[in-house]
Every structure is written in C-alpha cells, then in structure tokens.
Amino acid sequence: MIISRQKPWDELTACLDGKDKLFLVGCGSCATVCLAGGENEVKEARSKLEAEGKQVTGYVIGQEVCHLLDMKRELRKHKAEVAQAQAILVFSCGAGVQSLAEISELPVYTATDTLFLGNIERFGRFVERCSLCGSCILNETGGICPVTNCAKGLLTGQCGGAENGKCELDQERDCAWVKIYQRLEKLGELDKMRRPVPFKDYSQGAKPGRRVVERKKIA
C-alpha cells in the first residue's frame, strides 16, 4: 500500500491563496486506509476550508484515483460542481494527484505528502517495506528487503556498526542484515548470504522516471 500523510494545514492553505472555490478529490484505496484522504478526511477538510471562508463546490471519493479512466468517468459525473471550482484539491498519493492534473484543465493541488510503499502493522501504524527499485532480490534474502530496511541499502551484508542486532542509526530499528541472517539460518539457506551479489542496475530504478509497464495480451 502507498502510505501518504496530509500536509500540515498551514502549508496546504498557503498554496490555495486566491483559490476560493475548490473541488475536493479523495481516494477510496490507500489514502483511506492510511487516514490521509478517505471520505472522513475529505469531509473534515471541507468543514475546515469552509470555516476559513472557502467554498467547496463538491467532492468525490474515487475508488482508485490512480486509475485514469475511472477518474475521468467520476469527474464527468460531477461536471457541474467541477465547473464552478477554481482548483481541485486532491487527497491521494502523488500518482492520484497527477491523474487529476492529466484529466482536468484546472489547477490541481495535493493535500498530502506521499511517503512510501509499506505495510499496515496495526491500525494507524505503517512501516516501509519496498523501495520499488525494479530489481528485486527478496529471493536471495529470505524475503526481507535490505534495499529498504538497511539504512544504507547494502546488498552484500551488514556494516560494522550494528549493535546487538540494531541499526547504528537507531537503536529501535532492527539491523536488516542481522534479520536476514537469522531467517536464512532458520531456513537452512545461509549459503545465499555467501554468494557474490551483482551490482545493482539503477537503470531499472526510479530515475529517470520513465518506467512504463504494458501487458500486450490481456486474457
């Protein structure tokens, strides 16, 4: 799940200066679960905006704001409300915000900071687990990602600073490589840790942001 967090209110309203009529977009997927942009948050924001003298012309909670075609349809259903607005304020991850920028001619603002791809540990607590690096080595590391969970993203094993299995940067945080070691040992797969590791191919990674995946044949 993509974890996002609502921007501080002052930062958010500062960019809305001069835009008094707003249409709000929330997201029914990740942003709802991480309490950044579900129906509750959008309604709450509406009240706060109205209390500050803004007019909210309407809102929609898209099922998945990152789904361009779906959002096009959703926005069409709210055509009249959108037409009255001077700007769209989006409560989703950065991909969802960009859906709206692609679909609409209006200025689009994000109400959130998009943080990471992670897991729900318990309600309201989210932990980063994947860096979307494009060349997954989880098969070699007992299903624990060192690219994400090691502070330095080391591929060949622990650094010299871990202490009692904790990261040198944070005594609350487990050393990813100690965890990998313990898990591989339990699985009887320690030989995986001894293997040479190929250099990471960063051309498969997040920069320069040209990643497109297309399945040619969809059954």
Binding site: A151, K152, G153, L154, L155, T156, G157, Q158, C159, G160, G161, A162, E163, N164, G165, E168, L169, W177, V178, Y181, E185, L190, M193, R194, P196, V197, F199, K200, Y202
Partner: protein, 305 residues
C-alpha cells in the same frame, strides 16, 4: 625502508596510524603530525570525510603525505561517490602515487554534519573491492562499449594500476557470524589486509583471529587511543561499532593523568594483541590539537615499536 606492501608480504609486524584531514585548507597541523610519524610507521591511513563530517579530501591529503615521505593508505568510502566517481578517484589516486586503498562502505550521512545530503551507497565495500580488483586487471566496471553495445568484463584501461587493497572488519560485533560472512566476502573480493575496528575485548578478538587465520590475509588490530573516561563514554554512546569496557573507563577515571593512562592502556593492548595478529592500526581520534612534541600517536609508537 620497505613499502607497506613489501613489509606485509615479508611478514613484518605492521604499524599504521591515522591522519584526519582538516575541515578547511590549513594543512599545517596534519603535516606536523605526519612529519612526526615518518619512519615510525609503515603507513598512515587518511580518513575520508570521517564520521560523515565534511573535510579536506582523502585523496589530496594522501598526496601531501607522500610528499612528506610517508606512505598513505587511501581510505575510500562509498557514501559520497557512485561507481563512476569511485573508479575515477582511484585512477586519480594512482597517478599521484597512491597504492594502498582501504575500501569502506562509510558511515551514513545522518551521523555527520550534512544530514540532509543524499547518501550514495551505489555500491558497498565488498563491491568496491571488486572494482579495485577489476581495475588491477586492466579493465573497468563499465557495462557498455564505446560503440554502445552491452558488454561484460568492462572496457580496457590505458595502463594498468596496481592497487594494494585492504578492508575493515569489526571483530567484536554481536552476533559475529554475519560479520564473518562479510569478512569472507571481502577476502574473496581481493582484500589483502584488514584493519579492524577498535579492539577492547581480547577474548572476542582471539575468537575472530581463530576464524580469520584460515585465510591468507593480514590482520591489523585497531587500537583506539583513549584520553579520558568522558571520551570513552562518548564513543560508547555516539560512535557506531565501538564498545569501551567499563574496567577501562574506571582505570581512566581513577588515573591522575588521563592522557598518560590512555597511552598506557594502548601500549598494554598492543603487547597483548601482537601475539595474535599481524600488526596494529593506531587511531588517535581527537588528538589533532596536541602539540607536536606531545603527539600521543608518535609517543605511543615510539614506546612500542
């Protein structure tokens, strides 16, 4: 005098010290210390933005030490350079006469004075050793030919360097096994010598040496010169991977002259550890402000060498 490599290969007991480049361009203190160390140590390590604090570069400081008649060990970290910069800096070092390279991953930028900087870690210490090994074979680590074809084994270099690569290991880490696996990877990647993190627990060090002796590499035990109980506590709290035991802290606390006590402790450690290993690497952190004639690294080396 034999080079560091020659002395190592001849099986001499090795002494190395450490020079920390200044934050700025006044190198006089560093060179004073270097001058004092001449002919007393086999080589002097030059730290690379140590503890992620921005300083004069290791490469140019190594070059200056060469000019002072000292043999440098070029400490090179992966924190601030991607694979292009690492290789390029290595070639630059070589043409300036630098041969010994200590391959390090490097501390995280978060522990230093530019915590907002982008930490690079494109490769890590093991892979850096692989890079050095490749350069030593006359090729680089590129994956594309000048014609744009994908290649394996790199492109050919004009002139082949002959680096003498080393690495670090922390023999006191718990659990030790993951550290030993990485140590072995470093050996396989071509490390010829190891300078360890500061050793305080001789039993743990002996346990490590027992394992390390199966490999054809030389081990220099890290000796950290303590100057006060406060410094020891600071190291325990803030420097990753270092644990000064309580009995040494007590010894420093009760000593009338803390600096002398620190030197005494270091001397004692060297006498005990030299039975187990191939040399010692003396780290005199935070002693740069000392006057030349009382430079503890020099005195320490004088009394034990």
């Amino acid at each position: 005098m034999k080079s560091f490599r020659q002395a190592l290969e001849a099986g001499e007991f090795l002494f190395t010290a450490e020079a920390g480049p200044p934050k700025g361009v006044d190198v006089s203190i560093m060179l004073h210390h270097a001058h004092d160390l001449r002919a007393k140590v086999h080589a002097v390590n030059v730290t690379d933005n140590q503890s992620s604090v921005m300083r004069l570069g290791s490469l140019s400081a190594c070059h200056l030490l060469l000019g002072e008649g000292l043999e440098p060990v070029f400490q090179l970290t992966c924190r601030d350079r991607n694979r292009l910069a690492l290789q390029s800096d290595l070639l630059s070092a070589y043409v300036l006469g630098i041969r010994n390279v200590l391959a390090l991953t490097g501390d995280h930028v978060l522990v230093g004075d530019h915590p907002g900087a982008k930490p690079v870690f494109d490769v890590d210490s093991v892979q850096l050793l692989q890079i050095i090994d490749r350069l030593n074979s006359g090729r680089d680590y590129s994956t594309k030919s000048p014609k744009g074809e994908t290649i394996s084994g790199g492109n050919e270099l004009q002139g082949t360097p002959e680096f003498f690569p080393g690495a670090v290991v922390n023999p006191e880490l718990e659990p030790l096994e993951p550290q030993l696996i990485k140590f072995e990877k470093k050996v396989q990647a071509g490390a010829k010598f190891f300078q360890t993190q500061a050793v305080f627990d001789h039993e743990k060090f002996a346990r490590f040496m027992n394992y390390a002796r199966q490999f054809e590499v030389k081990i220099l035990a890290g000796i950290l010169l303590l100057k006060s109980a406060g410094m020891a506590r600071y190291l325990n709290n803030f420097v990753p991977g270092i644990k000064v035991p309580q009995h040494l802290i007590d010894e420093l606390k009760s000593a009338p002259n803390k600096a002398e006590a620190g030197i005494k402790i270091a001397g004692r450690q060297i006498r005990e550890l030299r039975k187990l290993c191939d040399g010692v690497h003396v780290m005199a952190i935070g002693r740069q402000g000392y006057r030349r004639d009382t430079n503890p690294t020099t005195r320490h080396v004088n009394t034990t060498y």
